[in-house]
């Protein structure tokens, strides 16, 4: 059944791709196929997972398709592996994916490249499924780069806009930097273990590597480099905010719920390797925590509604890396799942807002920015459903008790805190995370206030056009809202009844790493206290936002004054993009153009050596022509001299 789940989106891609060339107007057929394959895929995945849950076996279920790269020792099969971890991912990807596909039907209805959009989206789901189902590193890598490709195509979906195409390219290249790490890690694993199959590598790892040795540390750090690229962590995070150039459902699906979490998945998948390399684990957690805080600060000052969510995603991914870095793999996956719900919801909600705003501005032919929160305000009057469900998601991400985000984020911070007893560093990580959580509550409340509350700043004429999005868009929002609200029950804290279901479910995957992880246990009292603290943090952030921000006083974007000081630095992402441009992009271009091409290629090799040799032979030829006087007498004299030489040679 599982292969059907993978194959269906691919068939959808083929059919939609075919339609995009030959029947670009067949939107109904495209919608049916595009959404249909996802729903069917979800159902077959569900069937597979139910089968897995019912089966009594320890080993993962492996589907061999065919032998891919059989070269001596290296035997790579195209094979899928269904186990507890991939089952969770499978549900998230097909489930959330199906909802986003439904939403897209409404969102993209009027786009002229509608079939192409669904073709890409189906292709993305296909690659994502390959990524999470791959039974070895190379197959995972197919999905890994495949989703990057789809991300590239979808970010640059409206490629007539140079900036959007550039954003796609940036995403791909930054991902490739990460992929470089992943590739090297694969090479090292192969050299050490002689295989790239997950099962074989993880079975052999305890014997093949020295715990905390340099080799395993290097391997895991390289793997983490791959995750940094894919999951937009410092320093390779700058592509994700730019990726907001794509259609909003794409941001929801790829850049919030699924693809960007692939890094977390990879670490959870290779948990035994990371567990054997505690240094790498600490690096992962530290990078995650710093990213969480860093991105949260930037999110504070963004005006573009999607940029806020983008930095929020970076920040939340940081939380997940904290979890997998400290060895709380279940907590990381837990946050991944809940984040998929509430962040997809937030993006789709923002999408429906943008959709409506764009409509309004389009109607009046106004050139205003439909994504700038300064142009919104008071939208809850026009879009009550959207406002309501987005509040659910906001409360969830802010960490209001009872909602999904509270449980998952609290678990991560608790796990980090618990490890603080072993090393002080983890207290630091915990503190960074706590501050980031505070900021999260703040900027999310800010987003909601500016968007849905206060007076409307859209404009007189435009306000008449504002209305609730169609049911095909709000429907998925409601489903996701239910997920955001109730997702926390997947993995309740230890102190609550029915706790740790997800942790238990993932046990077969993570138990290999248990012997290498330091024992981290919190007393029930401490756990309660941390939960209380988390509640306080969430409340403080939201109240502060409510208290400090005055949506009533905000002006529309065109009238807004320029930002200054720290605010400007935050608005411009700490000028990191400019820094990269100055330090890396432009020097590379300069070296390539001026040094390598002009000086070495054209100057040294071609100019000096090649043309130099040509010039020398020409010079010799010129000298030769000097003897060519054309005067027979001279020739004869030379000839006789030549004869004399020959004669003297004969004479010895």
């Amino acid at each position: 059944m599982i292969w059907l789940a993978v194959l269906l989106p691919f068939l959808g891609f083929l059919v939609n791709g075919w339609l995009s060339f030959f029947r670009p107007d067949a939107k109904r057929a495209v919608s049916v196929i595009g959404v249909g394959v996802l729903v069917a895929s979800f159902i077959s995945a569900l069937a597979g997972v139910v089968g897995l849950a019912g089966a009594v076996h320890d080993a993962p279920y492996i589907v061999h398709m065919w032998s891919w790269m059989p070269v001596g020792e290296l035997q790579v099969d195209l094979a899928f592996q269904v186990d507890e971890l991939s089952a969770v991912m499978l549900m998230v990807v097909t489930g959330v994916g199906a909802l986003i596909h439904v939403f897209s039907v409404g969102y993209m209805r009027e786009d002229r490249s509608y079939p192409r959009y669904f073709a890409y989206l189906n292709l993305f789901v296909f690659f994502m499924l390959v990524l999470i189902l791959g039974a070895n590193f190379p197959v995972l890598f197919i999905g890994w780069e495949g989703v990057g490709l789809c991300s590239y195509l979808l970010i640059g979906f409206w490629f007539d806009d140079e900036a959007k195409a550039t954003a796609g390219k940036k995403a791909f290249i930054m991902n490739r930097i990460g992929d470089f790490g992943l590739l090297l890690a694969m090479f090292m694993i192969f050299r050490a273990v002689g295989s790239l199959d997950f099962l074989e590598v993880f079975d052999a790892a305890p014997a093949a590597f020295v715990t905390n040795g340099p080799e395993i540390t290097l391997i895991t750090l390289l793997l983490f480099l791959g995750c940094i690229g894919k999951s937009a962590q410092i320093p390779l995070y700058t592509w994700l905010p730019d990726a907001m150039a794509g259609p909003t459902p794409v941001s929801a699906l790829i850049h919030a719920a699924t693809m960007v979490t692939a890094g977390v998945y990879l670490i959870a998948r290779t948990n035994i390797l990371f567990a054997m390399a505690p240094v790498s684990g600490a690096v992962v957690a530290l990078v995650g925590a710093v990213t969480a805080l860093f991105a949260a600060t930037i999110a504070l000052k963004q005006w573009d509604i999607k940029k806020v969510l983008a930095y929020s995603t970076v920040s939340q991914l940081g939380f997940m890396f904290v979890a997998v870095g400290v060895g709380a793999y279940a907590a990381g996956i837990f946050h991944l799942v809940t984040h998929a719900f509430f962040k997809a919801l937030l993006f789709l909600g923002a999408g429906s807002v943008i959709h409506v705003m764009h409509h309004a501005y389009h109607h009046t032919h106004s050139g205003e920015d439909a994504q700038d929160m300064r142009n919104m305000g008071g939208l809850r009057k026009f879009m009550p459903w959207t406002a309501a469900v987005m509040w659910v998601a906001t409360l969830a991400i802010a960490g209001v008790p009872g909602l999904s985000g509270f449980f998952s984020k609290d678990q991560i911070l608790a796990e980090a805190f618990a490890r603080g007893q072993g090393a002080f560093l983890f207290y630091v990580i915990w503190a960074l995370g706590a501050v980031a959580a505070l900021l999260t509550a703040f900027y999310m409340t800010r987003l909601m206030l500016y968007t849905f509350h206060g007076p409307n700043r859209t404009g007189e004429a435009e306000a008449k056009q504002l209305h609730e999005a169609p049911w095909v868009m709000t429907g998925p929002l409601v489903v996701l809202a239910a997920g955001s609200a109730l997702g926390g029950f997947l993995n309740l804290p230890h102190v609550l009844p029915g706790a740790g279901w997800l942790e238990h479910w993932l046990k077969p995957v993570t138990e290999g790493s248990v012997p290498y992880l330091s024992e981290a246990h919190l007393s029930a009292g401490l756990e309660w206290r941390l939960m209380g603290l988390a509640t306080l943090i969430a409340a403080a952030g939201m109240i502060a936002a409510w208290y400090f921000l005055k949506p009533d006083r905000l002006g529309a974007a065109k009238a807004a004054p320029a930002e200054a000081g720290v605010q400007r630095v935050l608005l411009n992402n700490y000028y990191v993009d400019e820094l990269y441009n100055t330090l890396i992009v432009r020097p590379t271009d300069w070296v390539s153009r001026k040094v390598l091409w002009r000086i070495i290629d054209m100057g040294a090799i071609d100019g000096a050596v090649v043309h130099g040799a040509a010039k020398v032979s020409r010079l010799l030829g010129w000298i030769g022509t000097r003897f060519q006087t054309g005067n027979l007498g001279t020739y004869v004299v030379l000839f006789v001299i030549g004869v004399l030489f020959v004669l003297s040679a004969v004479a010895g």
Partner: protein, 171 residues
Amino acid sequence: MLEAVFWANAGIAIVSALACITRRSPVASALWLIMTLFATAVMFVLLDAHFIAVLQVMVYSGAIMVLFLFVIMLLNLGDQSATDMKGWFGRVVGLALGVFVMVELWVITKVVPVDQIRLPAGELNRMTVDEGAIAPVAQVLYTTYLLPFLLTAILLLAAIAGAVVLAKREV
């Protein structure tokens, strides 16, 4: 006796050759050259090459040198007044090189070992007496050297054609 004849003719040949290269008039040069060729023909006879001697007189002194004179007359070069001799530098260089060539050749004649001589003295003479003047040459020419012989025939043909093409006025 034979040696005396040889030396006499050798002297004639050398003197005539010198005259040939020093006379101002091409006609005179040509006539001196004919003289040399005749003297050489005599030497050929003394060296038992009767057939070649005949050819020398007929082909060289006869045909080719007539051709020379013919061309000289045709081009009206007979009464050239100014000398075509090179200047003193050219002459010194020429003389030096010429002497060098002679020395080299002299050295070479010394280098060749004398014991390579195979035929008993007078063998060729005996063959000529037995078989006639032409047969010994013809024997080799038409057997061992048949292919080169045919090739020279073709060469001559090509030369004739070439000469016609080159000298024809309207090409």
